[in-house]
């Protein structure tokens, strides 16, 4: 299969999944809850009030018409109106995505560095004490509740040691954001050479990024270890060793490169998970990302906003998977040929 045809096929599959995602979001948020208007207005709503609300939400029409309206809105780039923020949902999401992206990227970097180092060491020293400790670390990370770890870190580093700023968003209260270039505050303040701002934005980023980074580093460590073990036991590694290539070179140059595919998959899944707006962590640190937005939408019964959040998250997931699949075929051409 040629590269172009492979890409076309992946794109078509991705489009089908996206269509399914739209249907799923519709079923989940229009059909499943029954009467949205009475959910929103509560048990003491009057019949007239309900009728007005139904007309406003469009739920007085038959389900197929509602679906058509929903899809045609999406095609025009219209995800509805949030009644809490008074803005179009797509605008709300666009404003909040950079915060989630900054936190997600920082956590991913931490997880990759920790995961690669620990995973490679554990694989090279298989069954040693180090290996046991690393495996224990991975299981502990998979068992840790993010919201609990976040609170523990806040207690230690903010309340006890006073090293970290209070968990109240991306910057201290009253501080202005750096000029918007990437909208990632750390990067923007770096570009603006505003060192005071850089220190503040890094300080606010550290604890939430450490929380998520620790949790995500667990699956990364596990996969790096397993993938490296697989590769290090293959024939070409043995050949390289017998002809006298230094082991360090083998591990990094041959081992790591051939272990890339499973590592890439896990990083992709991890990044998707991080971009899903970590409702729990964002809420604890008052981080103004899409997770925090989803939580507000949940508690205020802002269904259009919630619907928009679910859809955006699913789209991010599908796109990330698509990108990974394409990257695979670049790293390992056998995949698209096979």
């Amino acid at each position: 299969m040629s590269f172009r045809r492979y890409i076309a096929r992946r794109l078509a599959l991705g489009a089908i999944t996206l269509l399914g995602v739209i249907v799923a979001v519709f079923v989940l948020t229009f059909v499943l809850p029954g009467d949205l208007a009475s959910l929103k207005l509560g048990p003491y709503a009057t019949e007239e009030g309900l009728a007005v609300m139904r007309a406003e939400m469009g739920t007085d029409k038959p389900v197929p018409v509602q679906f058509a309206n929903y899809v045609s809105g999406l095609l025009r780039g219209d995800m509805g109106q949030s009644w809490v923020s008074g803005q179009a949902v797509q605008r709300d999401m666009a404003q909040r995505l950079p915060a989630t992206m900054e936190l997600g990227l920082a956590a991913l970097i931490i997880a990759l560095v920790v995961g690669l180092v620990l995973g490679i060491i554990a694989a090279v020293r298989r069954d040693s004490v180090v290996d046991q400790v690393v495996r224990g670390y991975a299981i502990l990370g998979a068992s840790t509740a993010s919201f609990w770890l976040a609170l523990v870190l806040i207690y230690i580093f903010y309340f006890r040691l006073d090293w970290a700023p209070p968990p109240l968003g991306r910057l201290d209260v009253g501080m202005d954001a750096p000029p918007a270039i990437t909208r990632l505050y750390v990067l923007d303040s770096l570009l603006a050479r505003d060192w005071a701002l850089l220190r503040h934005s890094l300080g606010h980023l550290t604890l939430p990024a450490l929380t998520l980074g620790f949790i995500v580093s667990a699956p990364v460590t596990k996969i790096v270890r397993a993938a490296m073990l697989d590769v290090l036991h293959s024939d070409f590694i043995r050949t390289a060793r017998t002809i006298g290539v230094p082991y360090r070179t083998i591990v990094i140059r041959d081992g790591l490169r051939n272990a890339m595919i499973p590592i890439l998959t896990t990083s992709g899944i991890a990044f998707g998970y991080l971009m899903a707006g970590n409702v729990l962590v964002e809420r604890i640190f008052a981080w103004p990302g899409i997770g925090q937005y989803a939580w507000t939408a949940l508690t205020t019964k802002d269904f259009e906003a919630l619907r928009g959040f679910i859809l955006v998250v699913a789209i991010i997931y599908v796109v990330i998977n698509l990108v990974i699949d394409v990257l695979y075929s670049v790293i390992d051409p056998r995949i698209r040929l096979g």
């Binding site: 089908i16 999944t17 399914g20 995602v21 249907v23 799923a24 989940l28 948020t29 499943l32 809850p33 495996r135 299981i139 502990l140 998979a142 068992s143 840790t144 509740a145 993010s146 919201f147 609990w148 609170l151 523990v152 806040i154 207690y155 903010y158 309340f159 209070p166 968990p167 998707g272 998970y273 899903a276 707006g277 409702v279 729990l280 809420r283 604890i284 989803a294 939580w295 949940l298 508690t299 919630l306 679910i310 998250v313 699913a314 997931y317 599908v318 998977n321």
Partner: protein, 296 residues
Amino acid sequence: MSAQTSAVFSPPSPARSVGRVRRFSKVLQQNRMLLIGLAVLLVVVVSALVGPYFITYEPLRTAPEMKLLPPSLDHPMGTDNFGRDILVRVLYGIRLDLRIAFMVAFTALIVGTLVGTFSGYYRGIIDDVVMRITDVMMAFPSFVLAMAITAMLGNTIPNVVIAIAISYVPYFIRLTRGEVLSAREMGYAEAARCVGNPEWRIMYLHILPNCLTPALVQATLCLGWAILDASGLAFLGLGVRPPIPEGGVLVGEGAQFIISGEWWVSVFPGAVIVLIALGFNLIGDSLRDITAQEER
């Protein structure tokens, strides 16, 4: 007749020759992680079942004069802002969390294996449709999916169980389907077909039992995830809600006191959640290693 054929065609199980008890103790000796996991869970479960009988405090009775007391001999985990003993609330919380986790894993296991077997056995269009549906379900991060379903179905404990179970089902479908795809071509399935068993019998009585191992291992891991997800939802105010004692609710109740120094209100309940999840993950991980070794 069919029992005989499956005895002839299924691979001989080593358990018959060695003796189950001896084999089990040998497995435990070789897998310290499994041993630690079982020990952790045993301690947690026994204290949750027996503990409340030794404590005179009640999980819901408030005592304003004793509010926010730090850990002491009287209150090993301290008291919360209503003067309730945290230890007894944690013990009741463990019961509820374990119940939720088992219901989630059980529901996801049953639905996932039944659908997965069906899909893998019939292949073709049915399989394509089921696979696309799992694709779509897996396009949502499981916590977000569970959150959305709970919010939409309504804020009750059964709905939390349903929501989390739905978000785990696709993994069970995938696992079982993969096993069934190869098992349906095996000798014993062929034999069952030859002697004229109806399709549902072949699928669910002959093939499914031989394809259960990966799903059962997955179910053990799901117990740990379910505890984390359910308590996470409760922390957000979804599902279990105050004043019912549950791990996530307890951590949530204490969250506001973290920045004023009363750490025990949140830290102890959360640590217990992590401990339970750790127990299930240790067991699930070692079971996966053991079953993978036996396949080789």
